[in-house]
């Protein structure tokens, strides 16, 4: 086990554990704070993969933007912290069996599959290449993403708007 493996398992553990706490926490503010660690763990995994730009975007957009907005939303909404969140569990046994089988299946296929790997050395920085590819070969996808975001914006405005009866 190399040092990279240890770092990987560390970040993976942080991600999974905090994600588990996000869904089980009774207090919605706690959930939001656990989400911080989930995002942070994922950012760590990106760094480990050599995806420096995505890691920074993850920190800046998710932790810096979305999470803060989420917390603002929670704190500015009246009485939301005292709302009882229904997080009861039903059908525990079937769920455990189903998920266990699924996990075992995923694990066994993941371990036995011969994955395609490119033994390329990590680039010094990915920002340049990423920008170049996005505006060249993947320009269609880039533009379509723009439209997707526009639709998301219109949709969000449409949902949030108060209807005049």
């Amino acid at each position: 086990m190399t040092i990279y493996d240890i770092i990987f398992y560390l970040f993976a553990a942080i991600t999974v554990l905090s994600a588990f706490l996000v869904v089980t926490a009774k207090n919605i503010v706690h959930s939001a704070f656990y989400l911080l660690f989930t995002f942070f763990g994922v950012a760590g995994l990106y760094v480990l993969l050599g995806a420096d730009f995505i890691a920074i975007v993850q920190i800046m957009v998710y932790v810096g933007g979305i999470l803060i907005l989420l917390l603002f939303g929670v704190m500015l909404t009246n009485k939301i912290t005292s709302v009882e969140i229904k997080s009861g569990t039903i059908h525990v046994l079937p769920a455990v069996i189903g998920l266990g089988l699924f996990a075992a299946f995923v694990l066994s296929t993941m371990m036995t599959t011969k994955w395609k790997s490119n033994p390329a050395e990590l680039p010094f920085t990915t920002v340049y290449d990423l920008g170049y590819i996005l505006i060249n070969e993947y320009v269609l996808i880039f533009e379509l993403l723009g439209i997707l975001l526009l639709i998301a914006l219109i949709g969000a405005a449409s949902i949030a708007r108060k209807d005049k009866e």
Partner: protein
């Protein structure tokens, strides 16, 4: 990408560009002219007509655009072929009908000051669908699917006037989120094994020896989750009844026809470009021995139509009943794919044209009746046959066509599917489908029984549709009857539209 290459690539996606431009014009128009929203629907129709012109222009033209540097043979992300053009034209025609549909919908007219948003979201759906039917790259497929889903989530809860509206939207969102997450997981597994997202490049890589076939099957089942959700096939159909019942009827009709067609086009393109090695002279596809699509699809289609038909028997809400009927129809359509032949594909295309006519017609009449009575419950249809003679007769014809009885178009659609099954020597499957059709007769005819044979306690007010509405019904009704006896043009058109690039 230099300028000349870019212009060449752009010429392949002219319909998509027109739809995007129309979307942006609608948004801008809505922002600039607050008070004159009546023009927006006409803008939408104009945009769709121009896009339709470019699609017809693309017929019998094949090509591939937006190739990445790693892709050999110049197979890019967008594929232009007759198959794609057929479905693009289908989506655009249905969308034009949906725009006229919206004119007479009271639910939509009540939200008149949000008309700009409504059409912007409709165009988001259209753009997602026409890219979906021509995409041959997994990233683009996923993105187009998300664009389609995102717009439909909002539209399903667009009117916000009733609780069940928001419930529909939320249910759709949650189910959609889960299935698109699973699909993305499947895509990432395929990318991890092959190192490419291009469907044409995955094909030879899947033929490589010592490939772990269990992992391929696993990934394909996950990808099918995302597609099965779009075409509402069992066991991914749970959202369908609730969403179809809760959403505005216009959106229900749009989802049940166009969205389903886009999902089917994606499934067919995925199977044919990724898993087929060659087509034998008699039209049967030779599949790569990596994943048994045929077995999976047989099970899913039988399960889907049986479940859809039998659950529809107990429904008392007409929208809910048509939701289950649309699940059953997804099952029949999958049968056309089960045979894995050009004949089956032709049958699917024919079926879709007829299905669009009769399903849109049925939903339109239900909407006109709901506009007056405010209800879609089957008990409120008692005695409607005499209160609204024209609507009653038209609804009867559409429902008979949905059952698949002659002399309506629905019969011809089913006939071609059954012929394809019998020719492929799948007699047992054909018999199950036939028995299913018999079952479906019960719940369609039940509506007719309520309309004509039962006496209502209180006299019903007469429902008189306007001239425009009668015209719209006739546009759907006349072909439904005409294609039942004279269907050669549609069959020829479908036969010319089955060619996919490279096969």
């Amino acid at each position: 990408m230099d300028a000349s290459l870019l212009t060449e690539n752009l010429s392949y996606i002219l319909p998509e560009i027109v739809i995007s431009a129309a979307l942006i014009i609608i948004v801008l128009f809505d922002l600039i002219f607050h008070n004159d929203k009546r023009i927006i629907p006409y803008l939408a129709v104009a945009g769709l007509a121009v896009a339709g012109f470019f699609i017809i222009d693309q017929f019998s033209f094949e090509g591939s655009a937006f190739a990445t540097s790693s892709s050999a043979n110049n197979f890019g992300m967008i594929t232009v072929d007759n198959f794609g053009s057929f479905f693009k034209l289908f989506v655009v025609c249905v969308s034009i009908l949906i725009v006229f549909f919206s004119f007479s919908s009271e639910e939509i007219q009540k939200t008149f000051d949000r008309l700009g948003e409504y059409y912007a979201l409709i165009f988001g759906m259209i753009l997602g669908m026409i890219i979906l039917v021509s995409a041959s790259d997994l990233i683009l497929i996923y993105l187009a699917l998300e664009l389609l889903s995102l717009s439909s989530y909002v539209l399903a809860g667009f009117t916000k006037l009733r609780d069940r509206n928001s419930e529909a939207s939320l249910k759709y969102l949650i189910f959609g989120g889960v299935s698109s997450g699973l699909m993305l997981f499947g895509i990432s597994i395929i990318y991890g094994m092959t190192g490419t997202t291009n469907l044409y490049l995955i094909n030879p890589l899947l033929q490589a020896p010592n490939l772990n076939l269990i992992t391929v099957s696993f990934a394909m089942i996950l990808i099918f989750t995302g597609i099965g959700y779009k075409i509402s096939s069992a066991p991914f159909h749970f959202w369908t009844p609730d969403v179809y019942e809760g959403a505005p009827i216009v959106i229900t009709a749009f989802l049940s026809v166009a969205s389903k067609a886009a999902g089917f086009a994606l499934l067919i393109r995925l199977i044919k470009t990724t898993f087929v090695t060659f087509t034998s002279p008699d039209g049967y596809w030779q599949l790569i021995n990596a994943f048994d699509w045929q077995a999976l699809l047989i099970i899913i289609s039988i399960f889907t139509m049986t479940l859809g038909n039998f659950t529809a028997l107990w429904q008392n809400n007409l929208k809910r009943m048509l939701a289950y009927s649309s699940i059953a129809h997804a099952g029949y359509l999958l049968l056309g794919l089960v045979v894995m032949s050009d004949q089956g594909l032709t049958a699917i295309l024919i079926y879709f044209v007829f299905y669009a006519l009769m399903n849109l017609g049925a939903f339109y009449i239900i909407m006109l009746i709901a506009n007056k009575t405010g209800s879609e419950e089957i008990d409120d249809y008692t005695g409607l046959g005499s209160a609204a003679p024209f609507l009653g007769v038209s609804l009867a014809i559409f429902l008979v066509s949905l059952t698949g009885l002659p002399p309506t178009a629905g019969f011809i659609g089913k006939l071609y599917i059954f012929i394809a099954l019998v020719d492929a020597k799948m007699i047992a499957v054909a018999i199950i489908a036939l028995l299913n059709t018999v079952v479906s007769l019960y719940y369609y005819v039940r509506v007719l029984k309520h309309m004509y044979l039962q006496k209502s306690d209180s006299p019903k007010d007469a429902i008189l549709p306007s001239t425009g509405q009668i015209l719209f019904i006739l546009i759907l009704l006349v072909p439904t009857l005409l294609f039942g006896v004279y269907f050669t043009p549609i069959v020829t058109f479908a036969k010319n539209s089955i060619s996919l690039l490279g096969f």
